[in-house]
């Protein structure tokens, strides 16, 4: 009964060693074992991350054609962010080369994260659907923004008068 680095269940501990020690050995000789990593690959990922950051920054520049449609920009930025996150997780955090335990730890946590956000919607997200009159009096509304804009335009007129 011998053990291989290519065992589908991950490395098997050598006799007389703890799991940590075996993995340390595996880490030392990982070039022949998995053949992942490599400075070139990391730099490629780095370039991709920089390119993607520039892309999401594009939505802020005047070149972005959908300035009047914020939802297009939001969807685009979230897509870019998810791509960046996947690159970091897969390559920098080495998840691409990990055994199947990665699903056990990440998928339930990710599902909980999504549920957490959804559970906030009824109480927090929809809090302004029906509000008490007192709160309606004191909360900021779109009409306040318009009022301030009108005030700004009025000031411009008075400046010209002087």
């Amino acid at each position: 009964m011998t053990h291989h680095a290519h065992d589908p269940h991950g490395p098997v501990t050598r006799a007389g060693e703890t799991a940590d020690e075996t993995l340390e050995h595996a880490a030392q000789g990982h070039e022949d074992g998995h053949g992942h990593g490599g400075v070139g690959k990391y730099l490629l990922v780095f370039a991709a991350l920089c390119g993607l950051t520039t892309m999401s920054f594009l939505t802020y520049s005047s070149f972005w054609p959908w300035r009047d449609e914020p939802h297009v920009g939001w969807a685009f930025m979230m897509a870019v962010s998810c791509t960046k996150a996947m690159l970091v997780v897969l390559f920098f955090m080495h998840v691409l080369w990990e055994a199947n335990w990665k699903y056990v730890l990440t998928i339930p946590a990710a599902m909980m994260a999504v549920f957490l956000a959804i559970m906030l919607v009824p109480d927090v997200g929809l809090r302004n659907r029906m509000v008490a009159q007192e709160r309606a009096l004191h909360m900021a509304r779109q009409s306040d923004v318009r009022l301030l804009q009108q005030a700004a335009e009025a000031k411009l007129l008075s400046d010209q008068a002087h």
Partner: protein
């Protein structure tokens, strides 16, 4: 592990490494998960962190899209280029920590130390930029405070009375008198204009027949909200009285500004605490010889650091560009 329970005949093909008490015994121990204890703990911790930051980010998104009004990034003096620069800094630091790990595995201890120092420097740079940004918010009266910062939600009577109260403080009365008595040749043209407008503001908030629109004019004079097109490229919009006379510190109006400040400081604050913890870990790691023996430690610290980077990857567009 007690090896004496099972006894297996000696296998001549077995390749050494058995220095156990019972020379003839060969045991294989299959760990529950094929990863080291440290890495397992780190990943368990990170899965709780995923939920922690998901709760924060989820609350932010839900609060933001449920709000009647949410300030535009330039209403709250956020600079998109600075945010993008910080994103770049964190991505660079993620690369340097990965390179430190590679160098340590290849037993290039000097190189590993160099990359680690660079990571530490980049993380510190990130925190420095963050501190600069916080300072810009504080100077505009935007900070999390109970019941409110210097930011008011709307130009209503409460706002008017807050401006009146500030102008009526004894120290303020002296300062305003001093300003009124300063001859015009000692003031810049901007200050002369601002002094004239401040006088109007003082009359408006004290006037007995004050109209609701007057208070909107006051708010606009104190700290104008940049128009949609104007301030979009980091250029400074119209200067308010608070900008011309920083000692004035008059209450300002940013619709939705208080909720924005709470979420902004909560999210970036927790992220900054995580960055700080990472920097402390790197500083401790620098005390060691960063060879293959420490590769596991560097890898775990790196996992944490990449996660911090990951959070910022989502924070940047959500806070600066949405």
């Amino acid at each position: 592990m007690n090896a004496s329970a099972i006894s297996i005949p000696h296998d001549p093909d077995h390749h050494g490494g058995d220095h156990g008490h019972h020379g003839h015994v060969t045991l294989q121990y299959q760990p529950g998960l094929p990863l080291s204890k440290g890495k397992l703990i780190m990943w368990l911790f990170l899965s709780t962190e995923i939920m922690f930051f998901a709760a924060l980010l989820g609350s932010y998104v839900v609060l933001r899209f449920g709000a009647a009004v949410w300030p535009k990034p330039h209403h709250v003096h956020l600079s998109e280029p600075i945010g993008a620069f910080n994103t770049f800094v964190l991505i660079c630091s993620s690369v340097t920590i990965v390179l430190a790990l590679e160098a340590a595995r290849a037993n290039k201890t000097g190189l590993a130390k160099m990359w680690m120092v660079l990571t530490l420097a980049l993380g510190t740079l990130f925190l420095g930029v963050k501190a600069f940004e916080y300072q810009a918010k504080f100077s505009h009266g935007i900070y999390p405070w109970s019941p409110r910062s210097r930011v008011f939600e709307k130009p209503d009577l409460y706002y008017g009375s807050a401006v009146r109260a500030r102008l009526g403080e004894p120290a303020m009365i002296d300062r305003l008198k001093e300003l009124d008595e300063t001859p015009e040749d000692k003031l810049s043209p901007e200050e002369i204009s601002a002094r004239r407008r401040l006088k109007q503001v003082r009359e408006m908030v004290a006037s007995p027949d004050q109209q609701p629109f007057d208070l909107a004019v006051v708010a606009d004079q104190v700290m104008p909200l940049p128009a949609d097109g104007a301030g979009a490229h980091g250029g400074h919009g119209p200067h308010g009285l608070n900008d011309t006379f920083p000692w004035l510190k008059l209450p300002a109006v940013i619709p939705g500004g208080n909720m924005w400040a709470s979420t902004y400081f909560f999210l970036t604050g927790f992220h900054a605490i995580h960055v700080l913890v990472g920097l402390i870990v790197f500083a401790i790691l620098l005390l060691y010889r960063l060879g293959p023996k420490r590769a596991g430690m560097i890898e775990n610290a790196g996992l944490y650091w990449h996660f911090v980077d990951l959070v910022w990857i989502f924070l940047f567009p959500l806070l600066y560009l949405f």
